[in-house]
């Protein structure tokens, strides 16, 4: 490992030099958390152990939590100073995703409500 390969910044997905055991532990932790969250998701959807209307909310919360687990344990995106650029880019991506998804649902829902039902259109 030359001097140039030693670095302070970290790219996502990269593994800064550390013992292999450290990274295997990180991946095992990530696999464990992700497995628990996945099983929880499928169990809640199949068995409905909680109040019905809360099921979709619980599923979405579990999915976001699992994405967080993947980011931290598999992609090694952290809050450390070596990750500032990665987190900023991620935050921008999340903002665009939220605008596209929530904006589309919001606008199209309003358009739907303002549309005249088809049978009334036929009578015109």
């Amino acid at each position: 490992m030359s001097d140039l390969e030693r670095h302070y910044d970290s790219a996502p997905g990269d593994e800064p030099q550390d013992s292999p055991g450290h990274w295997v532990r990180t991946y095992l932790l990530g696999l464990g958390f992700a497995t628990i969250l996945t099983i929880a998701s499928f169990w809640i959807a199949a068995a409905h152990p909680i109040w019905g209307p809360a099921v979709p909310v619980a599923l979405i919360v579990l999915a976001i939590a699992q994405m967080g687990v993947h980011l931290v344990f598999f992609l090694h995106v952290t809050t450390g100073p070596d990750n500032t650029n990665n987190v900023l880019a991620l935050a921008f991506g999340v903002m665009v995703v939220a605008l596209v998804v929530l904006g589309s649902i919001w606008i199209m829902d309003h358009l739907n409500q303002n549309m005249m039902p088809t049978d009334q259109q036929m009578q015109m």
Partner: protein, 229 residues
């Protein structure tokens, strides 16, 4: 301000020295030439390649968000055809999820082996990753063939267009990842851990993990929320 030339970098180095125990922090001693701090020049190619690929992946995720938005908007536009409840087969989705999660894990292990400069274990874990990914793709192809045989095709309704394009785009990404994985196997074998090969392995890792993140969104929004109707 004339006595402070690079306030941000000076602050960064100060934090490095005074708070060495931070999360995500890996201390390697004093400032290093070419590390991108202070006036020591730009970041290493390894950082730039990984960061650039991270930006590409985020743009890929933005593209997926458009498919997610399309699906959400068209979800109830079934035109009298089958809805999502008639399509979902949860046991298959469970297997797909398990395959992809395990492949993400073994992909990470392969890179841990790369960091230890171990060709054999890198290759073994990459092959396991590829087999699990192949299992995922085959399950999805089986699902699509089954649906097609029942006349459930993208042209049937707006909902089915949204469904097939969202799930299919993800499947195409996994298939492309498998091709990439095959070339990486060959490159590691023939060229060894040259610097640019390691950079490509970093990018492949990022790509594969990002696919799993997108799949978390798909199995939750499409399949699980669809199954509870």
């Amino acid at each position: 301000m004339s006595n402070v030339d690079f306030p941000a970098s000076v602050e960064a180095i100060r934090r490095r020295r005074e708070e060495p125990g931070q999360a995500g922090h890996h201390d390697h001693g004093g400032p290093v030439a070419g590390a991108g701090h202070g006036d020591t020049g730009p970041a290493t190619k390894r950082i730039i390649v990984g960061y650039g690929f991270w930006i590409f992946l985020l743009s890929d995720i933005v593209m997926f968000s458009c498919f997610f938005a399309t699906y959400a908007v068209l979800q109830h536009a079934t035109a009298g055809g089958p809805g999502i409840r008639q399509i979902v087969e949860l046991p298959r989705v469970e297997w797909e999820t398990a395959f992809l999660l395990m492949s993400s894990f073994t992909c990470g292990l392969s890179f841990a082996a790369t960091n230890a400069r171990n060709v054999l274990w890198t290759q073994i874990f990459l092959v396991i990753t590829g087999l699990l990914g192949l299992g995922f793709v085959l399950l999805e192809v089986q699902e699509f063939i089954g649906l097609t045989q029942q006349g459930i095709i993208p042209q049937r309704s707006g909902f089915l267009t949204g469904f097939f394009s969202l799930v299919g785009t993800h499947g195409l990404h996994v298939s492309a990842g498998l091709l990439w994985l095959g070339t990486m196997l060959a490159q590691v074998q023939v060229k060894g851990f040259r610097r640019e090969i390691v950079h490509r392995l970093i990018c492949f890792n990022l790509f594969w993990h990002a696919l799993d993140i997108v799949w978390v969104g798909i199995f939750t929004i499409v399949y699980l929320l669809g199954s509870i109707g």
